[in-house]
């Protein structure tokens, strides 16, 4: 497993770029808040709403030895001449191989292989049937992988996404909302129940799915029966924040926007690298939400959030939290279990849920009076994060910046997703 600490010291340029990049970062938080908690909770047509009910999770932790991330020899494809391999930095879940004349093979070990075929070209004769064909230009995409939309936004290819599995109310990032309002992007049914008539009618040339599709195999089969290739994104399985961010390079290759992808990825790297010299404060952080039955949802220790807290210069309060019974990235604790450890946390971050981000410490106390005994509450270190970050994968590194601002007690003007709620 590659580690970024110390590895990219040489990329000073990126570090220098970090600050202007951060300040020009669009502030989604404000816009997200304009969607009231009520309208979010009334929203039901979202893909995740359906997914929530399924017996599985979108955010899962990978198996210990998924076999990913190793050097892989370029597949030999009769009729194509291999040229180069994308040099990956952090991501474990994919490979991109370049062939002559603009052909590219995207290999997502646990999803499948996809041959990107340049406009006007054909698949080479005798190509393995298992390899799905992506014919450029891919300009009628059905986006059912929520976290991937922000990548397309960053790449400037959102106009090629003509269909969405979330409706307008389901999106918390502005670009798809604007596209849907403008009528250039249509709601085409949630991932588990696409409106096939809309897909076929719009000449859908790619269905971009999250791993949730694996729980509805009949949908995947149907899409393939309709000659619609199904690409399954696995960025949420990357446990390092920059591994997740690096997935923009897959889509850069797919959409012939490699340069834009490199730039966006460099920006995310620079955000992380900018914090490299920030000493670890040793301050402990809890990241959680509360169910109405008082149980507390926390992240497992081996998750991306603890990773981000670490990078921000803090320490996740739960050192060894796991529940082998579930692959989910999160798990439930009783309030008492949570209390016994988190009561001493220097900072607590409430993960804004469907019931809305917290607006005051009183909101928190209303959920459970025990919070009044928490160190973070007493010291005025209560924070909240809105839901936007779930969808804004392309800007995920800014959550680290936010956490760092929290820990360093720096200028809150630079915050993107988080907000301090205690005085």
């Amino acid at each position: 497993m590659r580690k970024y600490q110390g590895k990219y010291l040489a990329v000073l340029l990126a570090v220098v770029c970090a600050m202007p990049a951060a300040s020009s970062m669009p502030v989604y938080a404000a816009e997200a808040e304009s969607i009231s908690a009520e309208s979010i909770s009334a929203e039901t047509a979202s893909a995740e709403a359906a997914a929530a009910e399924a017996e599985e999770f979108e955010e899962e932790l990978p198996d210990a030895d998924s076999g990913a991330g190793e050097e892989v020899a370029p597949p030999e494809i009769a009729g194509l001449t291999y040229e180069s391999t994308m040099d990956l930095v952090y991501a474990d879940g994919f490979h991109v191989f370049y062939y002559k004349d603009g052909y590219k093979l995207i290999d997502v070990p646990q999803s499948g292989q996809y041959l990107v075929i340049p406009e006007g070209q054909e698949a080479p004769e005798g190509l393995d049937e298992e390899i799905q064909r992506l014919y450029q230009p891919l300009d009628s995409i059905y986006m059912a992988a929520t976290g991937v939309m922000s990548f397309f936004d960053k790449l400037g290819t959102i106009d090629q996404v003509s269909m969405s599995a979330l409706d307008e109310n389901g999106w918390l990032i502005p670009a798809p909302v604007a596209a849907m309002q403008a009528g250039t992007m249509a709601f085409a049914g949630k991932y588990s129940e696409p409106d096939y008539e809309t897909l076929v009618g719009n000449g859908c040339d790619l269905a971009l799915e999250s791993t949730m599709i694996l729980h509805t195999p009949e949908v995947q089969e149907m899409l393939m029966d309709l000659d619609i290739p199904v690409f399954i994104d696995r960025s949420s399985y990357e446990q390092e924040v920059l591994g997740r961010a690096e997935w923009i390079r897959v889509y850069g290759a797919m959409m012939n926007r490699e340069e834009a992808a490199e730039a966006a990825f460099a920006e995310q790297k620079s955000v992380v690298n900018a914090l490299e010299d920030f000493p670890n404060t040793g301050k402990t952080v809890a990241f959680f939400s509360i169910n109405s039955d008082r149980s507390v949802v926390v992240r497992k220790s081996r998750d991306i959030i603890p990773n981000m807290i670490e990078l921000a210069g803090g320490k996740y309060i739960f050192e060894d939290l796991d529940n082998p019974a579930t692959k989910s990235a999160s798990m439930n604790l009783t309030m008492e279990e949570f209390y016994s450890t988190a009561v001493d946390a220097d900072y607590i971050i409430y993960n804004g849920t469907i019931e809305g981000a917290l607006t005051s410490v009183d909101d928190l106390l209303a959920k459970d009076a025990l919070f009044s005994e928490f160190k973070a509450v007493q010291e005025g270190h209560v924070w909240t994060v809105d839901r936007t970050w779930y969808q804004d994968t392309a800007n995920i590194a800014y959550l680290i910046t936010d956490m760092n601002i929290m820990l360093a007690e720096a200028d809150p003007a630079g915050l993107t997703f988080m907000k301090k709620i205690s005085e």
């Binding site: 929530a52 009910e53 109405s292």
Partner: protein, 394 residues
């Protein structure tokens, strides 16, 4: 038969009249065990004339979400004239339920279940929202439920038959009970031993088609089965829904729904083509899945020719192009009887895709009819589907 039913109706009416003059809260109407005793007031709100107490629903069904959830209702409570259903979700991850303006946060988590007392309206589709945390972030899911309590329903003619989802092995010989629908009282009339049609009030019709000569053993119950499992049954049951007609929650898992009007039909059966020609229905044909040389009607062949044909070629009965069905926005596929011979699961496999496309598949078995009357009975079926009169009535 008819007379007996009328008498039952009269009894209900009389009971209701007696009730109207008595103190409702304490009246005998509360005796749910006496199913012929009903409340005269049609319940349209979450209040009732039923006496406070506990009742057992006559039936419960629901739809919504991915269809993979489990939900049941084992009792109804009436408290101060307000109706609550005890709803049990088959997962411990439900946190609250919304019903109208109310948010019910009081939940009992019992092992693998979440139980709520939810204010509901009886005997009609009713929408609730439930929040589940079975994912990285919680989400509300909309469900439509139908809690049936006959004691709270306005007096209506009861179907003489068993519930429509109780058996699929043989044809129903009496009008089955369908949630939310009232039997018209019209007895079945058919000259075919393969089909039955029953009429319900407000223009709903149930069509049953028997696909096997002999009743097979019942397939194993699969509570997770979705609507496509209906295509595995020896008897295919179709409910024709009139234009703008409401679909009672959960009925989609009990019968195959045919939404009227049916205006763009795909046909893989030459018999069906001939019948549609006889009945002057060729203009409803949008797709044909019959090899060209076997198409019996010249005008259909012509409509399929050219650069932009009016009628699409959709493959063959055992190899249908779903893409063409979708492109043509077809609303019914009439399959040739040969699909039943194409392998044990051929119809089911087709049915799975059809359910995904929200396209009902009807199998035309008229060629198996032994008598002219039997074949003529299929004209009644088509007249019902397409909303036209029978030819002898024209």
């Amino acid at each position: 038969m008819k007379k007996q039913i009328w008498l039952q109706g009269a009894a209900v009416l009389m009971a209701a009249l007696i009730l109207a003059g008595s103190a409702p809260a304490q009246s005998a109407a509360a005796d749910v065990n006496n199913s012929t005793t009903g409340d005269v007031a049609e319940v349209t709100e979450n209040s009732t004339e039923l006496a406070d107490g506990e009742y057992t629903p006559d039936s419960f069904s629901w739809s919504g979400g991915t269809g993979k959830a489990k939900m049941s209702c084992d009792k109804i409570l009436v408290e101060n004239g307000k109706i609550y259903a005890h709803i049990i979700f088959g997962s411990s991850y439900y946190q609250y339920v919304r019903s109208g303006d109310e948010k019910i946060e009081e939940v009992v988590h019992n092992g693998d279940t979440s139980e709520f007392l939810v204010p509901v309206v009886l005997n009609q589709n009713y929408t609730i929202m439930a929040l589940t945390t079975r994912m990285s972030s919680p989400h509300e899911i909309e469900y439509t439920i139908y809690v049936e309590l006959k004691a709270a329903a306005a007096g209506s003619e009861e179907s003489p038959g068993i519930p429509v989802n109780e058996q699929y092995q043989v044809l129903d010989e009496e009008a089955p009970a369908i949630l939310g629908l009232t039997w018209s009282g019209e007895p079945v009339t058919t000259d075919s031993d393969q089909i039955r049609m029953y009429h319900y009030e407000n223009g709903y019709t149930l069509l049953e088609i028997r696909t096997t000569e002999e009743a097979e053993e019942a397939p194993e119950e699969d509570s997770d089965a979705d609507a496509s499992a209906l295509y595995r049954n020896p008897v295919l049951k179709y409910l024709m829904i009139p234009e703008n007609g409401e679909i009672p929650a959960g009925v989609d898992r009990q019968v195959i729904l045919v939404q009227q009007p049916v205006e763009a039909v795909a046909v893989t059966s030459p018999d069906a083509l001939n019948r549609m020609e006889e009945m002057d229905l060729l203009d409803r044909i949008a797709g044909v899945g019959i090899p060209e040389e076997q198409i019996p009607i010249a005008s259909v062949k012509e409509a399929m020719a050219g650069e932009e044909p009016e009628v699409a070629a959709i493959g063959t009965y055992d190899d249908i192009s779903y893409k063409d069905l979708l492109m043509g926005k077809m609303d019914l596929l009439i399959e040739d009887a040969a699909i039943l011979e194409a392998g044990d699961e051929a119809l089911y496999e087709l049915g799975k895709r059809a359910v995904q496309m929200k396209l009902p598949v009807l199998v035309d078995l008229s060629q198996k009819e032994q008598t002219p009357e039997g074949r003529a009975a299929w004209q009644d079926v088509y007249a019902e589907i397409f909303g036209t009169g029978r030819i002898d009535e024209k």
